[in-house]
Symmetry: C2
Subunit: 229 residues, 2 copies
């Protein structure tokens, strides 16, 4: 929708005036220049830093510009608006964010597949806490800019994996539970370490939470899911 609008506007501009922004330039189907690639990446990196720390409304274009080492008008040369930066960032990250879940393999050993998924997800919290907080910020506030993407990408993927879980439970490979709530629990437990990082670290008094977390979660899910018998 947003992209559609931009394309429309850019189309008008390219017909009327000389190119004033990246979009009108890009519409000519040239490959991105060295500078375009570098700056676009720098902006998205800066946007991640600032949006994840302050949320969409709490972030300012000036902050992002500073963080990226560019001037504000220069940012707006590469992205037509603050909204566009956010949207671009989101759509670039969502795919990666869902990768650990995609890897769950119906052919693998059920318990080990789930435990491995938990560890992958935990590793994401450790390695990409800003990404986690970016999504957390957005969803806590009702996901006004993300719900569409979620209901497209996440919904289908979850449905697919839930079916696998149900098959495993029906076959007695893992202890039965509500499969959706099982997935929610994995997200909640792993993302908590990134999203509530300051709180967790404050309460751990210097010890790195990620030292004990892997074993804790492994134990939790092993006890929960190992079939009785």
């Amino acid at each position: 929708m947003n992209l559609g609008e931009n394309a429309q506007i850019a189309g008008d501009l390219s017909r009327a005036t000389a190119s004033k922004d990246l979009l009108s330039t890009m519409l000519k189907d040239r490959p991105p220049t060295r500078i375009q690639k570098k700056n676009r990446a720098a902006i998205l990196e800066a946007a991640l830093e600032v949006f994840s720390a302050h949320g969409f409304r709490g972030a300012t274009v000036d902050q992002i510009a500073n963080q990226a080492g560019l001037s504000k008008p220069n940012l707006l040369y590469y992205f037509p608006s603050k909204d566009a930066m956010f949207t671009a960032l989101m759509s670039e990250l969502l795919d990666t964010w869902l990768d650990p879940m995609r890897e769950i393999d119906a052919q693998g050993d059920p318990l080990e597949e789930i435990l491995a998924y938990v560890q992958r997800k935990l590793q994401m919290s450790r390695d990409f806490p800003r990404e986690s907080r970016l999504f957390a910020n957005e969803i806590v506030q009702g996901a006004p800019r993300m719900l569409d993407a979620l209901s497209t990408d996440l919904r289908g993927l979850l449905e697919e994996k839930v079916a696998i879980l149900e098959a495993w439970m029906a076959a007695g490979k893992i202890n039965p539970t509500h499969p959706k709530h099982l997935m929610f629990s994995i997200w909640a437990l792993t993302q908590h370490y990134a999203d509530f990082d300051v709180q967790v670290r404050m309460l751990m008094e210097g010890e790195d939470p990620f030292d004990a977390a892997p074993e804790f979660l492994e134990t939790l899910y092993r006890r929960m899911l190992t079939p009785k018998g």
Copy 2:
């Protein structure tokens, strides 16, 4: 700290000029009037609504004023600043928020005490989702206005309950695990239903998440904590 500063300023005012705000009035130690009680409550209720939905920076004083049915200058008669509203709201809610944890009784049956705590906490997410999101918003963004309060109130309380958990584990009453991570897991799992409400509901396709959540969490912690024997 903030409160201290305000008291200082108010003291100066009361000495210098006629009363222009609530603080200078209150310093005279009169009991709050009917109107003061009503409006203060209305403002805090509105502040909860708005702050929890948009975060501190995302919320505007105008929004809160509208929600409370008062004019903006009138709000600032009752609270000297947006910051003061937020701080007042926080300190009023934090105590209640921690109540479920306080109730954990060292004398009770270990497993049942923990399971009951989980259910109380889950009930909080169901009954007070705005409060949960208020804290979530703040902590995700680094808790710049709350970390002091947390490290005072929460830290001590956690230490106390961790000691109880450790005693129970040592006595073989519950399956041993990392006690702090156990508490983190309870917070993460229960608050997830409030904080990620939109996502959870989107994925549950109309079914109320709180229908199955109590049983899911009961099962999870029972399997995890029931000592082997």
